[in-house]
Subunit: 154 residues, 2 copies
Amino acid sequence: MKASADRAPFDRAAFDRTVRERLERSGRRYTGGRRSVVEALVESGHPLSISDIEKLRPGLPRSSAYRHLVELQQAGIVRRLSAEDEFSRYELAEDLTEHHHHLVCVSCGRVVDVTPPKSFEIAVTEVLDELATSEGFTVQGHRLDLLGRCASCS
Amino acid sequence: MKASADRAPFDRAAFDRTVRERLERSGRRYTGGRRSVVEALVESGHPLSISDIEKLRPGLPRSSAYRHLVELQQAGIVRRLSAEDEFSRYELAEDLTEHHHHLVCVSCGRVVDVTPPKSFEIAVTEVLDELATSEGFTVQGHRLDLLGRCASCS
DNA sequence: ATAGTACTGAGACTGAGTCTCATTATAGTA
DNA sequence: TACTATAATGAGACTCAGTCTCAGTACTAT
């Protein structure tokens, strides 16, 4: 049940290559600004709000940060998720990290990653795919968030 | 697997009583404006965005609608959820309806309810509670959304 | 070098959501 | 029925996360 039990060590060079490839495939360069945003996400290891990113990258203008986040989403490198508060959070795309879910603190909005066992995911996926297709939906993925209070807000 | 297989018929009077009680417990009256919002949610049976509510209740001013939604949330009658787009959706609180999850269309933002079998929920809850408590979280509930494309956006 | 194109920062702009305030409705009391 | 205190409401100003525009800068290729 430990999140990192059998995770491969993080290969920075391979990661960089993938990011560059995806950007170039969408007609973009892997520039300093974009790298700055991506690395902030890698370093923190948590979904970040725009103000988190501003704190981690004080030099980067707000408009550039937002623009990069949009571009990175379009290139399939970043995805946006929504907490209980009004602020969007951004994290690395699912296939660049381990598949995981979120603990969302309803009090402070903090989001923490957790990884359930593989067998759990398989069971979930089976049941849900069936439900969705019966409604005419084509499933691309799922998100499973636990809402509650984090240790410091309890 | 059918969503409504063993659901009790909707008892409007009992529902109204509960809503009134919860409002009064939070020091509020069950007035026309609040009723209007609650009934829009009941009638549609789906999570609604603010513009959905405006369409269903053309006379109701925007500021009143928002105010009522906040009050109804505080009274535990409504909860806010977030789709993939920038618009919040509002639905009746979990315990006023059947426990359910969402199919979220990543293209048009539409949200549809689905209800997995009870056994599924139990299995999910067990695994997740364990994960959360190991991180110091106190779990209050979970949300499980399927992301994909609805029939009309495929 | 030069041209064409992508990238960037600065700041104006948009619009969902909030707040304020003056007015209106309601409940309670006599 | 009149009176008072309190809650509810509509109108519109305001806030601020997120988007858009534009002029200037950096790449890339030839």
